[in-house]
Amino acid sequence: MVSRAERGLIADWWFTVDKLLLAAFLTLIFGGIILSLAASPAVAERIGIADSYYFVKRQAFFAGPAVFVLLAMSFMDPRQIRRFALVFFGVCVLLLIATLFVGPEVKGARRWLNLGGMSVQPSEFVKPVFVVLCGFLLAETQKRPDMPGRIFSALLLGIVMSLLIAQPDFGQTMLVSLTWAALLFLSGMSWLLIIGLGGVGAVGILFAYTEIPHVKGRIDRFLNPDSGDTFQVDTAIESFVRGGWWGQGPGEGTVKRILPDSHTDFIFAVAAEEFGLVLCIGLVAVFAFTVLRGFGHATRENDGFVRLATAGLVILFGLQSCINMAVNLHLMPAKGMTLPFISYGGSSLVAMAMSMGMLLALTRRRPEQTRFVQPIEFEAFPARA
């Protein structure tokens, strides 16, 4: 075991990192391998890959780099994170631009880039560094109101959004802009501006509803299931119901054979059918725990940048998990979104590891930080009344 007397790199890390968050991430990574064992052989068979465990093997293979990235990132300090974000954001933007020109077209979108024999999805990587950069800009504005951090962050958002829409990838666009809006909100934007921003968002959604046919179709089908083909969502719901509390048992699921994207967007439904709702509720609990613990760190944080960057990463993670699970459960219109760490996808897994590695780095206990949290004083309430 590592001794507390040591002041080495590893020892420092071990005593300052949030071990519960780390445990949650490792749980999710290995849980993802187990669940891909359930969901992806059926997909491999369906799309005609000879090795039915192809996706499982790839997921397991990417788990190695993912854990490495997660740990490596968590060794950084906030200053290094900030620099990394800045540099990596530039790299990602270049890669995103490259995607549009040299990326292969898959299902009508150019999202992938072939780097050294590996397919990489730069949009997965740009999200966390964008959020960290925005956290930095908005924190600077909090410190020095004359600094136009909001406008810079809006410019960055504009760059990212336009590159994502050009792919096109509306899901990521939505996720990034929602996270950005949440950061603005957290950074102390006045309620009037927030309402205005909300209005812009509402107009945007209305515009998308009226002008983009497939958005209209999805919303219509959500509000009135009879208005169109709801096969995917119906099938997903059936697999939840069929699974029951304890599931049909590993390998016993059948809905996964007919459910499109069962290894990515709908892995939650597959998990429910085979392993039961209790496991699903456990999964929800892990996500909720991560998000709340991340927010907890943010509230106790003194440094504005760390506070906002932490919150931003947590929101990104939380929103993505909520949207995925809500779509699976037919609580919102269908939107393709992966479940962090669990859904199949190498880029998504490594990028999420990078993102949560940064979160671990930002939430480490730092000696230079004065931490004092006074308990909430409830006796203040009657005094006020």
Partner: protein, 577 residues
């Protein structure tokens, strides 16, 4: 410093106080910004808690609901899980029982590739390779039957196909070990194990149907249903009727054995018959229970009732004589005798020579009113009250006249079922008690409670004498089995073909009872359109129905425990007339 780290909504006053107390500085503004962020982080946390809570709530909601296809599957399972009680004969021999078979179903919503599934299923069941099946499997239905009641081999073959969304349910299938020999009595069930004919239907109508509806008939420990039938008698009857049908190349042959003291039906068979294990046979037009569901002009066997009526009315005595030397002319019709003696005949002579003229004159003496009243009393004007669902009512003359009175007296112009004939004849034999026939065991005491006196014991005794006399000296001699004191009456009716009586198409009947000194059983054999056994022979009842009844009696009497007696001074009564 401390206050600035507090969640400010807990102490709104603090910041205000601080703002008043301290000059505005950059440091304070920074702490202000931090406080705002903290407040809003709490709002964000609450929002996330709400969303995750909703997701968890939704999961719990799914956990509490039942799958729709499980409902369909469950209802299908419970629909077919219905057990039926065994049906046994009076000695406990099994006539009908449940066996377990597998049935093939599909859940189309879970079928991955309907085309592949259809093709693979067709390798086991070629008749499932149709477009209709393909469409069924491609539908979004939760549950469809593919094939009911498949064999174990077929089940294994389908299982090995490894098709998702295709499964088996165990269901009860009815099996009748005795097959066709009990067909018309026990009846049969449909594919859902519901009784649709015979006693099976009766049991459903009485109580089993309600039990199934309520879902309480699952337990296979239902009490067996015991019938009055005797499987051995049933086999004899079936066997003798089969050989009679073959021997006389008849259209049909049917027989009933009834306990005259209790009304229990001990044997009932009708040919051509069907195998209840393969009920589609029952759909052929010539398959019907001719004992209960058909009505016939019974012919001369009806003279039993005319004679009993005449004697019971008191207007005719055994010692009376009637002129049968000339045909009887009524309303432009001439009634003649088949074996005319052309002389005055006594009442016993009229009976044993089966004189139409004599019987007609006896009936005229009773009159139209008396005859109708008598037939009503004997239950011949109504549907016989019994348990079997397939029971026909009589076809009665539309208007009653003297001519009708005469024809009815010798069994023409009125059509009744053989069952009704047997019921009324039992009353004539058993001392005058009309007992509703039953297919369930009944003791003599129970029968007495249900019985209705319709004739005087005196009349019954005289009729027994006449029956025995006919078997000894008249047309029924071929049914006189030594030792069993058989009494019987033949009937050879001409059948109506295209509205006219045909001279070569006959409906023959023989009504026998034994032992005649204290009748226990009644045997009624009917043969539809018999041909002469050998060319040149006649085809009257005495030559086909009577020997068939004789064969039956010689085989069943020992089974039924009727003691033969060879010491008899036959017919102690004979001397007195």
């Amino acid at each position: 410093m401390a206050s600035s780290f507090r969640l400010s909504f807990t102490k709104p006053g603090t910041r205000k106080d601080a703002a008043e107390a301290l000059p505005r500085s950059a440091a304070l503004r920074r702490r202000d910004a931090g406080d705002t962020t903290r407040n809003r982080l709490v709002i964000a946390m609450v929002a996330f808690v709400a969303v995750y809570g909703t997701i968890a709530g939704r999961l719990v909601q799914f956990g509490l609901s039942t799958p729709a296809d499980a409902v369909a599957l469950g209802s299908a399972q419970s629909a077919i899980a219905a057990s039926r009680p065994d049906i046994v004969d009076r000695n406990g021999q099994i006539l009908a029982t449940d066996i377990k078979t597998a049935s093939l179903y599909a859940e189309p919503r879970r079928i991955v590739d309907p085309d592949e599934a259809t093709e693979l299923l067709a390798t086991v069941f070629p008749d499932l390779g149709t477009d209709a099946v393909r469409q069924k499997l491609a539908s979004k239905a939760g549950f469809v039957w593919l094939k009911r009641e498949i064999t174990a081999g077929q089940q294994e073959a389908v299982h090995k196909l490894g098709l998702p969304g295709v499964g088996f349910l165990t269901e009860s299938r009815r099996f009748y070990p005795s097959g066709r020999s009990v067909g018309y009595v026990v009846g049969h069930t449909n594919v859902d194990n519901q009784g649709i004919a015979g006693i099976e239907k009766y049991v459903d109508d009485q109580w089993l149907g309600d039990l199934h509806q309520l879902g309480f008939a699952m337990t296979p420990n239902l009490e067996p249903v015991k019938l009055s039938l005797d499987l051995s008698v049933q086999h004899v009857l079936h066997d003798e009727l089969s050989s009679a049908m073959e021997k006389y190349t008849a259209l049909a042959a049917a027989g009933i054995v009834m306990n005259v003291k209790t009304g229990e039906i001990v044997g009932l068979s009708s040919l051509p018959d069907y195998d209840p294990n393969n009920p589609v046979e029952a759909l052929q037009p010539d398959r019907m229970n001719r004992i209960t569901a058909s009505v016939f002009e019974m012919g001369s066997t009806f003279k039993l009732f005319a004679t009993a009526m005449a004697l019971d009315s008191g207007k005719v005595k055994m010692t009376d004589s009637f002129d049968a030397s000339v045909p009887l002319r009524v309303g432009g019709f001439t009634i003649n005798d088949f074996h005319g003696k052309h002389r005055v005949l006594t009442v016993p002579e009229i009976f044993i020579y089966s004189s139409n003229i004599g019987t007609g004159r006896e009936a005229l003496k009773v009159g139209q009113q008396g005859q109708q009243e008598f037939l009503k009393r004997m239950g011949l004007m109504d549907k016989p009250p019994t348990e079997l669902p397939e029971v026909a009512g009589p076809i009665l003359p539309k208007r009653w006249s003297d001519l009708v009175t005469i024809t009815v007296s010798f069994g023409h112009g009125i059509s009744v079922s053989p069952l009704a004939t047997a019921m009324a004849a039992s009353a004539v034999m058993n001392g005058g008690h009309l007992i509703p026939p039953t297919f369930f065991p009944r003791s003599e005491d129970e029968a007495r409670l249900k019985a209705k006196r319709v004739l005087s014991p005196q009349t019954s005794e005289e009729m027994r004498y006449l029956m025995r006399l006919n078997a000894l000296k008249g047309s029924g001699s071929r049914a006189n089995i030594p030792g069993y004191r058989v009494g019987g009456k033949t009937g050879t009716a001409e059948k109506v073909v295209n509205g006219r009586y045909s001279s070569n198409k006959r409906f023959n009947a023989f009504l026998a009872s034994f032992p005649i000194d204290d009748p226990q059983y009644l045997v009624l054999i009917v043969i539809d359109e018999p041909n002469p056994e050998k060319p040149g022979m006649a085809a009257t009842s005495g030559l086909n129905a009577a020997p068939t009844a004789g064969n039956v009696i010689s085989r069943i009497a020992p089974m039924l425990g009727v003691m033969p007696r060879f010491d008899e001074v036959d017919l102690p009564l004979l001397a007195s007339y």
